[in-house]
């Protein structure tokens, strides 16, 4: 901590001695500069999306002849209904339903389980904890490509092809990424409340529900956003387990549009790809609000 110089508080000094108008002006300039700088950066960040959405309104004979432009020469909204029509009568409504089901249920299971497991690792002492934690991390380090065929054989023997079981059941164990992340968050929570609760006779389980979970809000929000997005975007697992086209997810359907050896409707791909970003965006914007409140564990230390 910096040495305390009570008389030289910079902030209090500036607030006390600077006239109100100057202070507001300075604040105003700060705000403008902030918005200018951050806003410009934000536009740069969003540029790819502008291009994607702009191109989705180009007619087929403009997509490759007028590639760089964001604004099409000819406004062609037909890409959207064309793309939405999907394949052979199975349109994107089906695919969106499947994706939403998978992403929402998958996320709920995933994040809940991860919290439970993370608490065990973070707050409970038990024999073999280190070993299991290491193994859990190890599972993150083996590329999926060499795991899917043995996994596929296991699930086919169980007869679970064309069902949601291979996709959802493994999530009941949480996901190593989230478990680790939540462990870190839990470990940043001081144990004072835990101890207080223990004195009052609460069990480990009770502490989990009543003390830890509420304080994990930012972590849970973050994990949920990630989980939704990753599940939404996942294609390898759905590809091999969901064989029937009416079970396809949006991410799978998008990949089914293109055939370099034949004919591809690029406008439709752009349109549907852009559209598929909307749910993820909405989830993000809705939930990031909860990162604003944050945690104020006051009243304990003070």
């Amino acid at each position: 901590m910096a040495t305390i110089k009570s008389s030289d508080s910079v902030i209090s000094k500036s607030r006390m001695t600077t006239p109100k108008e100057v202070w507001y002006k300075r604040k105003g300039v700060q705000t403008v500069l902030y918005h200018l700088f951050v806003g410009l950066a934000a536009i740069l960040m969003l540029y790819p999306l502008f291009w994607l959405f702009g191109s989705s309104f180009k007619p087929p004979d403009e997509i490759w002849t007028n590639q760089t432009a964001i604004i099409p020469n000819e406004f062609y909204p037909d890409n959207y209904p064309n793309g939405w029509a999907g394949f052979g009568g199975i349109n994107f409504e089906v695919f969106y339903k499947n994706s939403f089901f998978y992403a929402i249920v998958g996320t709920l299971i995933n994040v809940t389980a991860s919290c439970i497991v993370a608490y065990g690792f973070a707050r409970v002492k038990f024999a073999g904890k280190r070993i299991w934690f290491s193994i859990m991390l190890l599972t993150l380090m083996l590329p999926a490509q060499v795991q899917i065929i043995p996994q596929y054989i296991v699930f086919t023997q169980l007869g679970w092809l064309n069902t949601w079981l291979p996709l959802l059941l493994p999530r009941f164990g949480g996901q190593a990424f989230f478990i680790f992340m939540i462990i870190q968050f839990i470990r940043s929570i001081p144990t004072d409340l835990d101890e207080a609760a223990m004195i009052d006779g609460a069990s480990k389980v009770g502490i989990f529900y009543r003390i830890i979970m509420p304080q994990l809000a930012p972590a849970i929000v973050t994990a949920s956003i990630f989980s939704f997005y990753w599940t939404w975007d996942e294609f390898l697992i759905p590809l091999i387990y969901l064989n029937k086209p009416d079970l396809y997810t949006v991410s799978l359907a998008l990949r089914t549009f293109s055939d370099p050896s034949g004919q591809t409707d690029w406008g439709a791909i752009f349109a549907m790809s852009g559209l598929s970003l909307v749910p993820v965006f909405i989830i993000f914007v809705t939930f990031q609000r909860y990162l604003v409140e944050g945690i104020s564990t006051t009243g304990l230390k003070g």
């Binding site: 087929p60 004979d61 997509i63 490759w64 002849t65 007028n66 590639q67 793309g83 999907g86 394949f87 052979g88 009568g89 089901f101 249920v105 709920l108 299971i109 809940t112 899917i148 065929i149 596929y152 054989i153 086919t156 092809l161 064309n162 069902t163 949601w164 079981l165 959802l168 529900y209 294609f235 390898l236 590809l239 091999i240 064989n243 029937k244 086209p245 079970l247 799978l252 990949r255 089914t256 549009f257 293109s258 055939d259 370099p260 050896s261 034949g262 004919q263 591809t264 409707d265 690029w266 439709a268």
Partner: protein
């Protein structure tokens, strides 16, 4: 939290039950089929399937479809898990590998018994599906490589459309002139594909890149290949051909992105069934002419008729007989092919071709016309690519041969030596 969990579990059970219901036995015979393609092909194929189901109510065709890359990932996984469908769409470059691993059924008995009727299909069309003398795939549409010419560009540059037997020397001359006169590329750098390696040796020396049983290279003299790449280097240097690095930057974007579409090149090289896509992307008002591939000086035609894709019956098929019946209908029925619109290439049945001729669009008509020209102007197709081909194509052709040469890191002579060494090693395994 607790109620959410409960309703969650209930939802899961419900979903499980529902999907199991769909899987429960029906009194129809189920035939599974899997193909790759894009939206157009999926729509057309499904429409054809639905027609078949109307005509044969006792058959229920369960279909799966995916994009090109995913198709092979998925089917390989299914093969390992014993879950291959009855019918799978297959590819000339891969069929031998699948046959060697016992994953496909020979179809000759079905042809002998007349289940698959080949009376209207030329032998040359069927030849591509032969592996070791047995037929493993039925050709779904004929294809041939082509050089598409932008007639307007040729006119503007004052160049005449070349003859059908034009050579690579003619090509180089024309390319240089097009670049001089018009300032655009003559062609993109896609002509570095291994297809033209194979067909070069077909043209110059009546052989092929590989020998008959696929155990070694099929030629001893590297010079034709070296000459070809020296030509490419000259064209790249002069700016008449798109630079290789630009081609890499473009990536794998599909044929609609070909340079001829935005008129940045006057010629283009692709498979004949892709003309529909190219013309569509370029605009209806364009004047595109499909033309033969140039041949080696004094050699045979460099074109051959290739099956664009096959339907094969897998060895894990549960209903091989019904599968064969479906394939027969798919290839021979006029109504089926009217739905399918020759999207997979020119139909192999002469009866079907004649029936469809009046109703074709401009691009398709051009494709039919072109294949007609090629029928009189081709060299016989060679056996399917040997098992080592994928390895050579992925691990040697690009990274060790074409790219170092085109980036100027090695000479074509050095490249040819490396190619020979590595390919011989791989094929000898």
């Amino acid at each position: 939290m607790k109620t959410t969990k409960l309703s969650l579990i209930l939802t899961l059970i419900a979903t499980f039950v529902l999907s199991s219901v769909a899987v429960m036995a029906q009194d129809q015979t189920e035939v599974r089929i899997s193909w790759w393609g894009s939206q157009t092909r999926h729509d057309l194929t499904i429409a054809a399937i639905e027609l078949y189901e109307e005509l044969h109510p006792e058959i229920d065709i369960v279909y799966e479809f995916q994009g090109w890359g995913d198709h092979w990932t998925k089917l390989a996984t299914q093969a390992a898990g014993g879950e291959l469908p009855d019918i799978m769409q297959h590819d000339y470059a891969r069929i031998e590998e699948w046959v060697n691993n016992g994953l496909l059924l020979p179809l000759d008995s079905y042809i002998e018994d007349g289940v698959i009727d080949t009376t209207n299909i030329a032998d040359s069309s069927l030849a591509g599906g032969l592996v070791d003398g047995e037929l493993y795939g039925i050709n779904l549409g004929n294809n041939s490589e082509n050089f598409t010419l932008d007639a307007d560009a040729f006119e503007a540059a004052g160049i005449e459309i070349p003859a059908d037997d034009w050579t690579w020397n003619d090509f180089e001359e024309i390319a240089m002139k097009l670049h001089e006169e018009l300032g655009i590329y003559a062609i993109d750098a896609g002509i570095t594909t291994e297809q033209l390696w194979k067909s070069t040796y077909m043209s110059c020396c009546d052989s092929w890149a590989y020998n008959e049983d696929g155990t070694a290279l099929g030629y001893d003299d590297d010079q034709p290949l070296i000459d070809y790449y020296n030509m490419l280097l000259r064209l790249q240097e002069a700016g008449a051909m798109q630079s290789y690095e630009e081609n890499v930057a473009m990536g794998d974007q599909g044929v609609e992105a070909n340079l001829i579409v935005p008129q940045e090149a006057a010629m283009a090289y692709f498979w004949s069934n892709q003309i529909v896509a190219v013309w569509g992307a370029a605009g209806e008002d364009r004047n595109l002419i499909m033309h033969t591939v140039p041949r080696v000086e004094g050699g045979q035609p460099q074109n051959y008729i290739k099956p664009s894709m096959f339907f094969s019956i897998t060895s894990q098929a549960k209903q091989p007989d019904e599968a064969a019946a479906f394939i027969d209908w798919f290839v021979n029925s006029i109504e089926a092919n009217e739905i399918l619109s020759a999207e997979r290439g020119v139909p192999v049945s002469s009866v079907v071709r004649d029936a469809m001729a009046p109703t074709l669009g401009a691009a398709q008509a051009e494709m039919f016309r072109y294949l007609g020209v090629i029928e009189n102007n081709n060299s016989p197709i060679r056996p399917a690519d040997p098992a080592g081909h994928a390895d050579i194509q992925n691990n040697v052709w690009g990274p060790e041969f074409v790219e170092p040469i085109m980036f100027g890191l090695i000479t074509p002579e050095e490249g040819a030596a490396i190619l020979r060494e590595e390919a011989t090693r791989i094929l000898g395994q």
